[in-house]
Amino acid sequence: MLSIKNLKAEIEGKKILNGLNLEVKAGEVHAIMGPNGAGKSTLSAVLAGRADYEVTEGTVDFDGKDLLELSPEDRAREGVFLAFQYPIEIPGVSNTNFLKTAINEKRKYQGLEPMEATDFLKMMREKMELVEMDKSLTSRSLNEGFSGGEKKRNEIFQMAMLEPKLGILDETDSGLDIDALRLVSEGVNKLRNKERSFIVITHYQRLLDYIVPDFVHVLYKGRIVKSGDASLAKELEEKGYDWIKQEVEANS
């Protein structure tokens, strides 16, 4: 589904991704861990198409399409969804109107008619339950005045509504208390299926107790320096990142 080869990216002349490789197959969950500043958010931003980052080398193939050639909206409509580490507030744009527009733009892209209002509302209700989103939040402006946890839940709610092929969660666990963490994780688990893949970016192993990954990768200095199964996350939790850093320095 997703094949990243030798990806290099920089911002303002600063090299951040330095030849990153990653293969994600349909239905797989990949966790990406790594110390602060390793380039995790940069990877997610490059995949979602944020213009600030310049890709200097490498390729990203998404279901046979050259992802890097697509505009951010086309990537989304092809099935990429990024749950932001820091979801922003957009006053004056209502949550409901925003989602209706997003869904209908995707349908238009797929050559489908706009969704019936009643179907849309039914879908809203169902997906809201998934993350126990308070009903009152949907009539408000997008994320405006939402607590940190509510914003993160709203990201997962949007993902549920948009039904992507690939969900990228950028530190969705940060700023969540244990109950919210469980809720959000359960929401994500319910969205897991044979076709849908996830890249779960996290700094801590905690989240991976709930969303159990198929693979765990360590990102350091803009490259994947170690890969393993779920047990690698446990090891990192116990030993921290220093031993990885030392390994990398020793090999270079």
């Binding site: 505009s71 951010p72 527009t101 892209y109």
Partner: protein, 428 residues
Amino acid sequence: MLVENIKAEFNLYKNQAEKSDFFLKREEAFAEFEKVGFPTTKNEEWKYTNLKNITNQSFQSTCESTIETELMLSHAFLKELTANKLVFVNGSFRPELSTIIETDESIVISTLAKAKTAHSELFNKHFGKYAPIEGQGLNAMNTALLSDGAFIYVPNNKTVTNPVIIVNIADSTDVNVLCQPRNLIIVEKSASLTLVETFYAVGNNPSFTNVVNEVYANENAHIEHYKIQNQEGESYHNNFTQIFQEANTNINHVTLTLSGTLVRNNLHFFMNGQNCNSLLYGLYMPHGTELVDNHTRVDHAFPNCHSDELYKGIMMDKSVAVFNGKIMVHLDAQKTNAYQRNQNILLSNEATVNTKPQLEIFADDVKCTHGATIGQLDEEPMFYLRSRGIPADVARKMLLNAFADDIAERIKIPELVELLEQEIEKKI
């Protein structure tokens, strides 16, 4: 040259007029006009707004209109709204196009020309008492040669059930036309009124609309006042609105400038008692080389009053906007709360905004804030919306609508809010 047109027109009028008090007032105004003339960019208040494209041309007052006017009326804004409508074409009242649905006979929804005799006491008490002419060439010109306008009188404790819409059309099909509407609005104690002024232009010749509004709000009165300026073609517009507030009055004023070659709004509030609430909101979205200039002034002359002002601009092409908001807090006006903001989004690199707050505070126990912003549409929200599959042009519209929403939510007529949304859709 406009100045010659004005002189000739006044001489013509002078020879026919009977020598009433009204005539004397106009003669006095004409003398003032001759003395001060039109403002130039040397005047600090007119630094960014050059009237030479108006003053170098000829304009004439006329009561003629063409079929274009009827066409315009057939698709004018708020046509479907249940309202009292006063239609003025080139400044002349058109009874056959107007409708008054108010049934309370103590409420007067009429014209200035009629009120001068039918309500002479009220007329003489209020006319020319609020809008100054000294040093104000354009106000003096309006007073000297005003065509006609609305006269609205709401007695104590009365509410005008439906809005009153004053429709102004400048029809320049045949000539360069000068329209000088003059409205006098009197809302007595504990009375309330919703007033909408709309401005249109038809015809291929230039038009110049020079409006003076005097609004008197007696104690406890409540006025909702909306102004919609949508004059297309080569149309120039100057508007002076003086709102005089007695104690405990509540005034909400929204100015929507959708179109006009040059639009200058002078909106002045004077609070003549305690516990007044003055709300001034505006939205402008000029395109091409249009210029929109909003000069506002709020005089806090008594303690415990509140004013809130927010003007927002969406700037396209090579358009120019001027904002100057003056807040005067007089010596006795303790416990004043006065807020002012001007926010602009530039959708083009060639658009210009000149913004200037002017706070003059002579009392010491006051809360006043002001702020101005000029910038592009933020990248972050754009990316957020696009990352959810919303194309850039749709996302942009959503964000501009959101930007305008702060003003739209001040409008209490749902049909007008809807109309604004459509206009934004159309303009951007």
